[in-house]
Amino acid sequence: MSEDHQLRSDGGTAPATGEDATSANGTEKATSRVPGLGGDEGRIIGLTALAVLLFPFLFAEAPVISDIIQGYAGLTTLILIWGIFAMGYDLLHGFTGLLSFGHAAFWGAGGIAAGLLVEYAGMNLPLVLVVVGTVVGVLLAWLIGFLSLRRGGIYFAILTLAFGQMIYFTIFGPLGPITGGEDGLLLTIGDLFGVIPLNAGVPVLTPLGFIPSWLYLIVGIFVVISVAVAYRVLNSPYGLIFKAIRENEQRAEFVGLNVWRYKLMAFILSGAFAGFAGALHTIYNGAASASAFYWIVSGDVVIMSILGGVGTLFGAFLGAGVYLYMSNILETFVGTLWHVMLGLLFVIVVWLFPGGIWGGIRALRDLLTDLIGGGGSEPEAATDGGEPGARAPADAGSDGGENR
């Protein structure tokens, strides 16, 4: 840090006299908030790991809380898997401003690739399946992104939807004999490293109520890694360039950036997360089927992403959690009425909290620190104020004036 600082205060052309000290300070402060998400990577990774560790306990084991919410341990793994999917999607939609309606394709492709590998190649080591799922997600996203990103806005959304459905019908119909069609593939997933059964409990942690199974532990570790990677991407030049494209695509092109290739990279990165999560989903289910490609799945991830908070990264996990809680647990009490309740919740969140649930929580916390802390909350505000909430990606293309 101090080295950076040195470079910066020496590097510029002569700074305005008298302003030297303050401006150097300013740079330092500003640098620490580059991410716009607050804090450094170590803290984020630590907090994510802590959340992953405590989540099953709070959700399914803790007295009172878990009695009220009626959570069960199996669902926690599923929530994390969908959370990874939704977080990758947020990179594309929330940060780059590209609304895709075809992300089921990558989730499905990662899942079916893992399934085919188990079924036909006899390769059932979980870690290998996950790597293959990610690679397949990347390759397919490359292809579909290459074709869809030729157009912007609603046309892009429609193209992704169309390609997604084309792939769905291909997997379901012509490739049905291989992919299992309607029935899918029922799989026997191998043990972790070939020795540890995924459903077995973890010594010490499971009896204490923290980690329900090895599967959860592995998925949890993947969540921490995914968050670290996504967070790093947002702190890299890409993070800023993605936001630039979201805010004003034309201007980004006119500062000399190859907008098209950066958009393709955003698409591929989100496809990688989707394929990765899709393979995990196959491992979780012990099955893979064409239904993962269905367009409703693309809609689900959009809803999760918006519920949790567009452009908030971590909100994805909240969105996935709320959605899956309603569709799995609430459903046992109210039946199909949960769809209506989800719709209501969606409308309320979009109305009241444009930043989604994550944005709402943050607003609430800021309000509380303001009420309690007064002037003392200054440093907190400085590290957290970077990202101006989440926002609907504006149609920034109209910003530059003359018609084309």
Binding site: G11, A30, G239, K243, F254
Partner: protein, 252 residues
């Protein structure tokens, strides 16, 4: 060698010829203004040079090399930068981030695979962003969200973004449009200052006659897509065709 040269440049929109066989050349270090009544084809000309529009005929050469096959970002990378008619900025980002984005375009080229490398490991980006903001006098407001700036400052930021690319040629499309007289004055001073500091060549499209006569070495007058006059401010002031087409009785 001319910095920018157009040869027989034509742009037709359906039956309308917006640019009609325009031959223009701009020498290094020159301050050129492009004027003309509404619909004379000024913006079209700028858009052809920046490659937002495809020419129907003709050639555009920058530093002797044809740029008609290039993408807009390639033209910027080659050294032609543009400031827009409306303040075209990144509204929800801080002023500093606006400058950083421009610095990224200037320093990292059009594309890179550095998505796992932290932005703060590139001190050069912050240096360019800072110099740029100091040059346009917005360093003090670097933490302000860009959309919260007053209009004049937005335009200054816009010019700063265009300057961060360290262009050889800066195209300015009515940089003072919509500004108050004070803001206009400040912007003109800014342009002059930057011109001195960076030995910039620029092409200015402007409505305000006073500004044009004040800060141009040479003026090109367009009317209905064609160049009708070209010369020093004094020559243009005297030119009868120009007075007829554009100035009307104003100069009488």
């Amino acid at each position: 060698m001319s910095l920018l040269e157009t040869e027989g440049l034509v742009k037709r929109f359906g039956g309308v010829t917006a640019t009609d066989h325009v031959d223009v050349s701009i020498e290094p270090d020159e301050r050129v203004s492009l004027i003309g009544p509404n619909g004379a084809g000024k913006s079209t000309f700028i858009n052809l040079v920046t490659r937002r529009l495809d020419p129907t005929e003709g050639d555009i050469r920058f530093k002797g090399e044809s740029i008609v096959q290039k993408e807009p970002h390639e033209v910027v990378q080659a050294g032609v930068s543009k400031s827009f008619q409306q303040a075209s900025i990144f509204p929800d980002l801080s002023v500093l981030d606006n400058a950083r984005i421009a610095a990224l375009g200037a320093d990292h080229g059009a594309f890179g695979f550095n998505f796992l490398k932290r932005l703060d490991s590139y001190p050069e980006i912050d240096r360019i962003a800072r110099t740029t903001l100091q040059d346009v006098g917005l360093w003090g407001q670097r933490d302000t969200t860009a959309s919260d700036l007053p209009y004049g400052d937005k335009r200054r930021l816009e010019i700063g973004i265009a300057l961060a690319a360290e262009p050889d040629l800066l195209l300015m499309d009515e940089p003072t449009a919509g500004m108050s007289p004070e803001e206009t004055k400040a912007t003109v001073d800014l342009i002059e200052e930057v011109k001195q500091e960076r030995s910039l060549t620029y092409l200015l499209v402007e409505h305000d006659m006073e500004i044009v006569f004040d800060i141009s070495d040479r003026i090109i007058v367009l009317n209905r897509g064609s160049v009708i006059a070209e010369g020093t401010p004094e020559e243009i002031r005297e030119d009868e065709d120009v007075q007829d087409a554009y100035l009307g009785g104003v100069e009488a």
